[in-house]
């Protein structure tokens, strides 16, 4: 007879994974709606309006459309990789959340049992998140290559070059956070920022804001958001790496892209803005609400950026990566090290 507590722990783990995965699958629906509403209002339009009140049913209409569309595989495409690529883009976006702490401990009311609001506390959590979220790039590269189309190929090439260039800067900012918080575990990183607003890594002056800027710019480039969305530059490349995709396969790429947006927002909050810690002492607000509030603010910030800035040229993108971000992070690393001695 196996130990009963082991079974309960296992069941809890499965339930947590199930809840997180379900939320992540559903999340792109409101995000597409909000993104179009934000775009509309920034550009002095109404945004989606016709399907349902205030256009609220628009995401469902889109979903039905994407499911019903014909699934086209180009005749000369590399069939094996073409079909695999959307899944390779999507899977890492989910797997990342195994290490992300949404909160500390929480007691379920009535049955009085304590559960942790994270799936796993890894002692190399920050490395795990960076490594796994970097794997999503394979979907873009293989998708671009296997389409056998010049636009898609160039999109894939651009994304791989962009990824390599900006991965270095993002890793440096992760080193910075590790120096500030003295741990690789995301849980410990959040706990080290407890107390009030001034304990957050962002407010570790003067290096905190610089690390955050490096992280933000690098991550924007890695998840291919405007102003760094050159892999799907619709002005010159058709639709970039997913030019040849249709229906649900295209939807998988979009899903991965929205989840990457959420991941970057979550990581910004966890690494620099204290995770679930309140900025100052407010009674009766559960930590998870602080966490969600900060994440939502960041998601809005990224949408705001998207409809405000124009796209960079490719040489400008490379210049920013290699000639600005990397030297700045090296200098910042030395300063942080000296301050932490």
């Amino acid at each position: 007879m196996p130990d009963i507590s082991l079974i309960v722990a296992l069941a809890l783990m499965v339930i947590k994974v199930f809840i997180v995965t379900t939320i992540l699958f559903v999340l792109p629906l409101p995000l597409t709606y909000v993104e179009r509403k934000v775009a509309g209002h920034i550009q002095v339009r109404l945004g989606p309006w016709r399907v349902g009140p205030h256009g609220l049913l628009q995401p469902f209409a889109d979903m039905i459309k994407l499911i019903l569309k014909e699934d086209i595989v180009p005749d000369k495409a590399d069939k094996f990789l073409f079909k695999l690529a959307p899944l390779m883009a999507m899977l890492p976006a989910f797997v990342v959340y195994a290490a992300i702490p949404f909160g500390d401990k929480w007691t379920i009311p009535f049955i009085d049992r304590e559960v942790t609001l994270y799936i796993a506390d890894m002692n190399v959590g920050i490395l795990y998140v960076l490594a796994i979220s970097g794997l999503g790039i394979y979907g873009l590269i293989f998708g671009g290559w296997s389409s056998n189309s010049k636009y898609a190929l160039i999109g894939g090439l651009r994304s791989s070059a962009q990824m390599i260039s900006y991965e270095i800067a993002v890793s440096f900012s992760a080193i910075g956070v590790v120096l500030l918080s003295r741990s690789l575990s995301l849980l410990e990183i959040v706990k080290s920022q407890g107390g009030n607003l001034l304990h957050w890594n962002f407010f570790y002056l003067p290096v905190g804001p610089v690390w955050f800027a490096i992280f933000l710019i690098g991550s924007l480039a890695e998840i291919n958001r405007v102003p760094f969305d050159l892999p799907e530059d619709e002005g010159t490349l058709g639709a970039g790496f997913h030019t040849e995709y249709s229906g649900m396969r295209f939807a998988f790429f979009m899903l991965a892209e929205y989840l990457a947006l959420v991941t970057v927002s979550v990581m910004s909050v966890v690494l620099f803005f204290g995770g679930w810690n309140a900025p100052f002492n407010v009674p009766f607000v559960p930590p998870i609400l602080w966490f969600l509030g900060k994440v939502i603010l960041f998601i809005y910030f990224f949408m705001w950026v998207r409809f405000t800035l124009p796209r960079y040229r490719y040489d400008q993108l490379m210049t920013i990566g290699w000639k600005i971000l990397i030297p700045v992070s090296l200098v910042n690393l030395i300063i942080t090290g000296l301050m932490k001695i």
Partner: protein, 169 residues
Amino acid sequence: MEQIPFFIFAAIAVLSAIGVISVKNAVHGAFYLMITLLQVAAIFILLRSPFLAAVQVFIYVGAVMVLFLFAVMVLDIGKEELRETFNQQGVIAIPAVLVMLALIGYMIIGGKVLAPAGNLTDDVLIGNSTEVLGKELYTKYLFPFEVVSILLLIALVGAIVLVMKDRKR
């Protein structure tokens, strides 16, 4: 119990490694290599070394493989150019491989591949293997660590010099 996942990972790793050298298409080869490297990372986790596993995924799967793919796609290596993968070197290669396998087998049977774990018990490694690794690298193994760093630096400078020589003219 722990041997079951090990054999699964090892089997996938070996099969995809065979895939790397047997497929005609270079991009497919890169795909199989990626799978092999991921399995190796999984084996690192079984060996109580999450740091090495994360670094393996981060550096090899995340960066080096992307660079490989970039080169393969830019050079546009077609299926035809890879037809002659064997170069008639089987006469040398097969005995060399057999000798190496025999050596490895001899060492495993003789118990010579095992090193004493010392004070690195399971508890220490599961708790904070990164800290243990860092301390060992910067104290006990500082000299080899520095030698490797200088070697990498030389390789970096060398790569830049090679590129610059072409460009001068």
